[in-house]
């Protein structure tokens, strides 16, 4: 038996989480370094996966399979396709930055006993989330996936509810109340989604008799597993509901602005750039493969919801007064694009959607983390409290601008490629939908540039006049992200090469072909 690379990639951060949590209360800095080292080691393993993965090889590679709970027909089955590899790489890549950016976010203030160790807890929880996200990307057993899809809510919940921005306009008491409100809202939305999915998971077992994605997909393809149309549709809806909450798709999105607003910037990045990707990823992997017919049946409605997400998210972003909420609504708009790309059922659309997941992760991380640095300096999330920052902190303003430009998909930066692919892929099949979606881009330009203009340009406000520029630690976080944004914007081929074959197989599961082969060449 070869080295279980996939297991190792997920287990390493899990062990790291336990180890970090066990660091004695006084050794806070050691805990931070330990977490950072673990995340870097995980990144090394993820890169190994990337290298060992052969895009033109079999559909699922590096597979591992062990019996687990035979009674439930559950196996410990891991395997990655191109889409999963790209997202694992994204997750592992972002983690060191998230940890570095949150370096001081959980330093204890005062209260609590000597055994109260918020710093250790913060980093342990982040690593725990990483472990669970990675194993959800790797799982090819529906039950195994479900377990971690649900379990990751718990560390996320503590991250949102337990740690927030230091300064708050209404004092710590109010901040704490709002935080726990946001955390509970996050948890309830996702838990209800997950529990409805649980009913569908049980239903799937009753119909199929096991949980192996490959076996079920194969049996569906060769006709040996027949599902009544209505059964398939109900099961699809159960799965899709959970993923749509997680993604999030309008009208199930309302938890996201609260969660992102109240959590610290690194945790907000963790939510939107990493954890939410599990939702869109799962649509591609589970909804389409397990329930191809129902996916096609639901496509019109989902496209409309995605469109509403795009436009509604962008419109609300324009109207926000709070920087983090603005980014949250922008993300909702972007998730609309991703879901649009997935359900356009074209290879460009789905490649674009996968690429979009990666790029959105990087660009949101860049924008949000810089925004976090900004907020930590002034102690306010309100846009109106800023002005003229570019004069006092030019590097901060510059990186903020690049992050913003990436968010509005400026050509030359990575998100442009993916957004373009999604729009092309959608347009070839649903021209009208493609056209409406384009408004999302226009609005994106509006909300980002207005945000930049109000905070960074104009006369220097009294409160920001002494604002220090980015520190070394912060530069180390931002610079690589920006380099990546530019690199993938100019040369996205490494990612598309990995993703494309996987998208092709997914599409063939749904029995969809691209409408116009000529577009394929134009790419």
């Amino acid at each position: 038996m070869s080295f279980p690379l996939l297991t190792a990639t997920a287990v390493l951060p899990a062990i790291g989480a336990i180890a970090t949590a066990a660091v004695p209360a006084a050794q806070r800095t050691a805990a931070k370094w330990l977490a950072l080292l673990v995340s870097l080691a995980t990144l090394a393993l993820a890169i190994t996966i990337l290298v060992r993965f052969d895009p033109d090889g079999g559909r699922y590679q590096l597979t591992e399979s062990h019996s687990w709970i035979a009674d439930f027909g559950v196996r410990y089955e891991l395997g990655v396709d191109g889409i999963a590899v790209a997202l694992i790489a994204l997750t592992a890549l972002l983690m060191p930055f998230i940890i570095l950016a949150g370096w001081h976010d959980a330093d204890p203030l005062e209260t609590g006993s000597r055994r109260w160790r918020p710093t250790q807890g913060f980093f342990a929880l982040i690593l725990a989330v990483e472990a669970m996200v990675i194993i959800s990307f790797e799982a090819t057993d529906v039950f195994l996936f479900y377990i971690f899809f649900e379990a990751m809510l718990i560390p996320m919940y503590f991250l949102i509810g337990g740690f927030g921005d230091r300064a708050h306009e209404h004092g710590e008491e109010a901040a704490s109340t709002q935080r726990s409100y946001a955390a509970v809202k996050f948890l309830l939305y996702n838990l209800i989604g997950g529990l409805i999915m649980l009913a569908a998971v049980i239903g799937l077992y009753v119909v199929a008799g096991n949980f192996s994605l490959q076996e079920i997909a194969q049996a569906r393809a060769n006709g040996s597993l027949h599902m009544a149309t209505s059964t398939e549709r109900w099961l699809f809806l159960g799965f899709f509901f959970a993923f749509a909450v997680k993604a999030p798709l309008w009208p199930l999105h309302t938890w996201l602005p609260n969660a992102m607003q109240e959590s610290t910037a690194p945790v907000a990045v963790l939510i939107t750039a990493v954890v939410d990707k599990v939702g869109t990823f799962a649509m591609l992997r589970f909804c389409l493969q397990l329930f191809p017919e129902a996916s096609k049946w639901a496509t019109p409605v989902i496209l409309v919801l995605a469109l509403i997400s795009i436009v509604y998210g962008a419109l609300l972003a324009v109207g926000q007064r709070d920087i983090k909420r603005l980014v949250a609504y922008a993300s909702i708009s972007h998730f609309g694009f991703i879901i649009l790309g997935i359900f356009a059922m074209t290879s460009q659309g789905q490649s674009g959607a996968t690429l979009y997941m990666v790029n959105h992760g990087i660009s949101t991380a860049a924008l949000m983390l810089v925004a976090g640095f900004l907020i930590s300096r002034r102690g306010s999330r309100l846009i109106a409290d800023y002005g003229g920052v570019q004069k006092v902190a030019p590097v901060l303003a510059g990186t903020f601008l690049i992050g913003g430009l990436a968010t509005l998909s400026l050509p030359g930066l990575a998100p442009f490629v993916s957004e373009f692919l999604v729009l092309v892929g959608t347009f070839t099949r649903y021209p009208a939908v493609g056209i409406i979606a384009t408004f999302g881009i226009v609005l994106a330009a509006l909300y980002t540039l207005v945000l930049y203009q109000r905070t960074m340009t104009g006369p220097v406000k009294q409160e920001v006049s002494a604002m220090p520029d980015l520190r070394v630690r912060e530069l180390v976080v931002v610079a690589p992200l920006i380099v990546l944004l530019i690199f993938l914007g100019v040369y996205p081929k490494p990612v598309t090469d990995i993703v494309n074959p996987a998208v092709k197989s997914t599409l063939s599961d749904v029995h969809k072909k691209d409408p116009k082969p000529s577009v394929e060449a134009a790419k």
């Binding site: 009674d71 109260w116 704490s176 309830l188 529990l195």
Partner: protein, 552 residues
């Protein structure tokens, strides 16, 4: 009761040619009944200890005796199971009174372990501050003294402790061991009374808040007596219907395979009205014990008023025993009637799941909250009962085992959080517990997450098992309602976690007592079982699967 029993013996004897010669000595398989016998003997010895051993030495003697008895009985269960009595050698012992089969042994094992963990919490003497230089436990110094009276003060001053709780615990355990393995209705009833009466007493014995405790005991007793009366009435009616109290015999009459009518019961035998009313009444009595809606009214008051160690034991073990008896009754006696009882049970399961979960939201006392949560869980277990399949049985067995350890652990944690007035059970006092004592709060959070059925805990594995069995048994709507009420239930479990971790600690908040190794073992065992059954449940699922067949 006794009249009908004598009557049936007498008629059997009368039909024989030579009455005297034909009476055989009853054949009792002592080996197979050893778990129960060990516990009963120890309980009787415990009573003798109370009579003859000096007061100072009673506590140690009682705890030691009880622990040894429970361990020995558990060993006996394991030996019987290893010997194949759970599977191939399963049969009916003690002249048809007791079934020795998979479900019996599995549930007896669970009850004994729950009893052992319960014993640890009963014996805890480090939590309450010392009274007049004596270490005291959760039980009243002298049960007979009037609360607040001089005699009570004198008893406290003299350092009295109610060591009678240990024999009472053993008697309750003994009754519970018989309850799920009872194979005729009279044994069922006797077992019901044997385990209920000690519990009524134990509920009344709290050291603090004695009036509340006594009120709880009286409520429990009165309602329990009602339920017992219903059960007994039901037994009488079923006897009238079938001419026998034996499970197998009644089942045959229900199936219509027995047609020879007992002349003495010619008017009533085979009368379906008797069967339906009688069956319903017995089931009602059992549903009372498992605290299913609408027979749940006693649960919150009793759980709140009883001494917390008793609550924990009662919540875990009574549920196990009563569900065992319910399963046997429905699967062995009334399977022929399942098209009649299933719709009723559907309704009961639905209102139990939803009722328990919804009412729990408004609770402000942690013990009441756990009481409503136990009601909701009864609903989930009922979903497995309704499956009427082998999977249904084994999933219920697994759920009961998982649930009882979470419950014992959770109530053990409740005993630790204290202020000047004893246990601080009001939820507002739990605010910020995570800051003061992260470990205790984290452990309690694990139990709450298990109650909520979050993956990687035993609660999830159990919930999945019963819902899967229900879905396979054609109860898909029940599964959907189950997950919805799980979501509702999750809300209030999460609320407690929010309170513990995200709220600022109150300055006058409670302290967490440092327990002796006894309570630590109880809590530690709870955590370990919760996580092991959550991460690697296969071995225990196999065990439950093997144990999933009733002997008939």
């Amino acid at each position: 009761m006794s009249a009908s029993a004598v009557h049936s013996l007498w008629t059997t004897a009368a039909t024989a040619a030579d009455p005297i010669a034909k009476i055989d000595a009853p054949k009792i398989e002592y080996g197979q009944l050893s778990p129960t016998l060990i516990v009963v003997c120890a309980a009787i010895i415990g009573v003798l200890i109370e009579a003859f051993v000096p007061r100072k030495s009673r506590y140690l003697a009682q705890v030691f005796l009880s622990a040894v008895a429970l361990c020995a009985a558990f060993a006996a269960v394991v030996a019987l199971a290893a010997d194949g009595y759970g599977t191939t050698k399963a049969h009916i012992a003690a002249m048809g009174a007791i079934a020795v089969d998979g479900p019996s042994l599995f549930l007896q094992g669970t009850i004994l372990l729950a009893g052992l963990v319960g014993l640890f919490t009963f014996a805890e003497r480090r939590l309450d501050p010392e009274a007049h230089g004596n270490r005291v436990d959760s039980f009243a110094a002298q049960a007979a003294s009037v609360p607040g009276s001089d005699s009570e003060k004198a008893a406290v001053k003299a350092g009295f402790t109610t060591t009678e709780v240990f024999p009472l615990l053993l008697f309750a355990v003994a009754g519970m061991l018989v309850f799920p393995s009872a194979n005729d209705l009279l044994t069922l009833f006797v077992a019901l009374e044997v385990f209920s009466l000690p519990l009524y007493l134990l509920c009344a014995l709290a050291r603090r808040k004695r009036l509340m405790s006594q009120e709880a005991a009286v409520k429990y007793f009165l309602l329990g007596a009602f339920a017992s009366a219903f059960t007994l009435f039901g037994i009488a009616l079923l006897y009238g219907y079938a001419g026998s109290v034996s499970y197998a015999r009644i089942a045959q009459v229900v199936d219509g395979t027995v047609t020879n009518v007992d002349p003495a019961l010619a008017d009533t035998m085979g009368n379906d009205a008797l069967l339906l009313v009688g069956g319903a009444m017995i089931v009602m009595g059992l549903l009372f014990k498992v605290s299913a809606v609408p027979f749940h009214m006693w649960t919150p008051d009793v759980y709140q008023g009883a001494p917390t160690p008793v609550t924990g034991f009662m919540a875990a073990a009574t549920k196990v025993a009563a569900f065992g008896a319910l399963l046997r009754l429905l699967y062995v006696v009334l399977p022929g009637l399942r098209w009649d009882w299933r719709p009723v049970m559907w309704a009961v399961a639905i209102v139990t799941m939803l009722g328990g979960a919804i009412v729990a939201i408004t609770q402000t006392d942690i013990k009441r909250l756990l009481a409503y949560s136990s009601i909701a869980h009864a609903g989930f277990i009922l979903a497995g009962v309704i499956a009427t399949s082998k999977d249904g049985v084994s999933s219920v067995l697994f759920y009961l085992a998982a649930y009882s350890f979470v419950t014992l652990g959770a109530f053990a944690v409740v005993t630790l959080v204290r202020d000047a007035g004893g246990e601080a059970t009001h939820l507002s006092k739990w605010a910020g517990l995570g800051r003061r004592s992260p470990l205790v709060a984290a452990v309690f959070a694990v139990f709450l997450l298990a109650f909520a059925g979050i993956p990687l805990t035993s609660g999830f594995a159990g919930k999945f098992a019963v819902f899967k069995a229900a879905a396979e048994g054609g109860a898909a709507p029940l599964v959907v309602i189950g997950v919805i009420s799980s979501a509702v239930a999750a809300f209030f479990y999460i609320r407690v976690i929010v309170l513990m971790f995200f709220s600022e600690p109150r300055p006058e908040g409670p302290t967490v007592a440092v327990p002796s190794p006894l309570t630590m073992t109880a809590i530690g065992l709870g955590v370990v079982v919760t996580l092991v059954l959550g991460v690697a449940p296969q071995y225990f699922l196999d065990l439950a699967n093997q144990a999933g067949v009733f002997v008939r």
